[in-house]
């Protein structure tokens, strides 16, 4: 059973490794370095820290988008080429497909964080570089699993990418949205409508990743206990990733494929 899963993982991994992926990665790294050198020219003090944080955040958001696109395209192609039907005729359980995809995502994220490790280590030192690479790997893993769930459920790339990014941004901007809703309640003098919206958003926050699931960019400016920060993120991401995988499994087992 394990060998079947590994064989499936290798097959799926070969599907996403393409020259296009490496070219895109190269373009992103080049864009990060060039725009960072412009910022470095402008900064009067703390240039190294600003540039390092900028490169790290630039790569964080661009690689998140790239990871979701790669995962969504790969699974969408499986739908289009009726790969699932073919796979299910083989002696394979559906959970093995999800496990194989999870391994693919883990390896893809590892590949994507390598340039971040290199660049951040160059700008901020090896310790911060390794912290950022590990934290970014966890963050990319999370959003890629979100992408996997989205594409398995919605089956179309635009909808899946939109859904994944919406959840990601909702989690990232939850502080701002909560602030706006609280202000709206205050301005409407506590109207029932505003309170209801605030309550609904508060409830949604329980099922999206919390702030601790993301890489901490303050490490570039303050001395922070890197291991403790990473440990907190690992716990948050593990719980949420397992939750996402369970939802993926439920959805995948629910699906009917015509043979």
């Amino acid at each position: 059973m394990t060998s079947q899963t590994i064989a499936l993982f290798r097959y799926l991994m070969l599907g996403i490794m393409s020259r296009r992926l490496f070219v895109l990665l190269g373009v992103l790294v080049l864009a990060a370095v060039l725009s960072a050198s412009f910022i470095e020219e402008l900064a009067i003090i703390n240039g190294a820290a600003i540039v390092s944080a900028y490169v790290a955040d630039f790569l964080r958001y661009s690689l998140s988008l790239l990871a979701v696109l790669v995962v969504a395209s790969a699974v969408a192609e499986d739908y289009q080429s009726r790969q699932f039907e073919r796979l299910l005729t083989m002696p394979l359980a559906r959970w093995q497909y999800i496990v194989a995809q999870t391994l693919v995502i883990a390896c893809l994220c590892l590949l994507l964080v390598l340039p971040a490790l290199l660049l951040v280590s160059l700008y901020s030192g090896v310790a911060v570089g390794f912290y950022w690479a590990a934290a970014l790997w966890l963050e990319l893993l999370l959003i890629s699993l979100l992408g996997l769930l989205a594409i398995l459920s919605l089956e179309k790339i635009p909808q899946a990418v939109f859904f994944s990014l919406a959840i990601y941004l909702l989690a990232k901007l939850s502080g701002l949205i909560s602030l706006m809703l609280a202000e709206s309640v205050r301005l409407s003098e506590g109207s029932a409508g505003s309170r209801a919206v605030e309550f609904i958003f508060g409830s949604i926050l329980y099922v999206i990743p919390d702030a601790g699931s993301f890489a901490e960019s303050d490490v570039f400016f303050e001395s922070i206990d890197l291991l403790a920060t990473l440990g907190d993120q690992l716990l948050s991401v593990t719980i949420y990733a397992l939750f996402l995988l369970t939802v993926c499994l439920v959805d995948f087992y629910r699906k009917e494929f015509s043979f």
Binding site: I39, L42, I44, I50, K172, G175, L176, S217, F221
Partner: protein, 238 residues
């Protein structure tokens, strides 16, 4: 082409002209006029927008502010900048990324170069106000501000208030002795020689100063001020 409904064709031509005209006006506005600073959002709004990277956002906002006088390839005079809004921006950036020196540096090294006394005063007051956030980080800026207040603004009282703030910092705030010595040097300038002498004597007696060169400097100043005080008391009698 011929099958297109005539109203649609007219609408297309009209909207294309409107777009071209609007773009032309926009370009002219950008090329000719200075675009003033907008009012900053609240700290909470920026913290929300930062998506967890508050420090980076603070620095990027500071860089944007630093570039504000360069618009559409042209450099504008600082006299065009609304300094009250500028100080609002500096305050906001300081609050977003606590522990940063950048806004204070911009204030003392960049925006304090204005020739307008009122604007300069706003900047110096900002530095004086924000110094308390982190005296260890900002003592250089307050020392610079004190010098600017004395020589450029000609406000010895403000300079003295700043120098006094520096001198009153506890020993845990590490800064060179010259920064703490500003107070008595300014007092001497104000002809407050007795106060200056009292401060130096206190410094020498409490052994707060261990460095031999520093003690020699203080003893020299003490003799100098005592001589001046003596001469000033002799002069009316002569």
């Amino acid at each position: 082409m011929l099958s297109l409904p005539r109203p649609l064709l007219w609408a297309f031509v009209l909207l294309l002209c409107a777009q071209l005209f609007h773009h032309h006006l926009d370009q002219q506005r950008l090329q000719t006029g200075y675009q003033g600073l907008g009012k900053p959002f609240s700290v909470a709004a920026y913290r929300g927008l930062a998506m967890g990277s508050e420090q980076l956002l603070g620095y990027l906002l500071a860089l944007r502010l630093q570039l504000h006088d360069n618009q559409a390839g042209r450099h504008f005079r600082y006299s065009l900048i609304d300094y009250e809004l500028l100080v609002d921006w500096l305050e906001r950036i300081t609050e977003i990324s606590a522990g940063t020196e950048y806004p204070m540096l911009l204030a003392s090294r960049v925006y304090a170069s204005t020739g307008d006394r009122e604007r300069l005063r706003l900047i110096l007051e900002f530095i004086q106000r924000r110094f308390d956030d982190d005296p260890q980080l900002h003592w250089r800026r307050l020392a610079e501000a004190s010098v600017i207040a004395k020589h450029r603004l000609g406000d010895i009282d403000l300079a003295l208030a700043m120098a006094r703030k520096l001198a009153r910092q506890p020993p845990s705030v590490e800064m060179p002795r010259w920064a703490r010595d500003f107070e008595f040097l300014l007092l001497a300038d104000l002809n407050e020689l007795e106060s200056a002498i009292a401060i130096i004597q206190a410094l020498l007696q409490t052994e707060a100063v261990n460095d031999p060169d520093e003690r020699r400097f203080l003893q020299g100043k003490l003799l100098d001020f005592q001589q001046k005080l003596f001469e000033s008391r002799q002069t009316p009698a002569d």
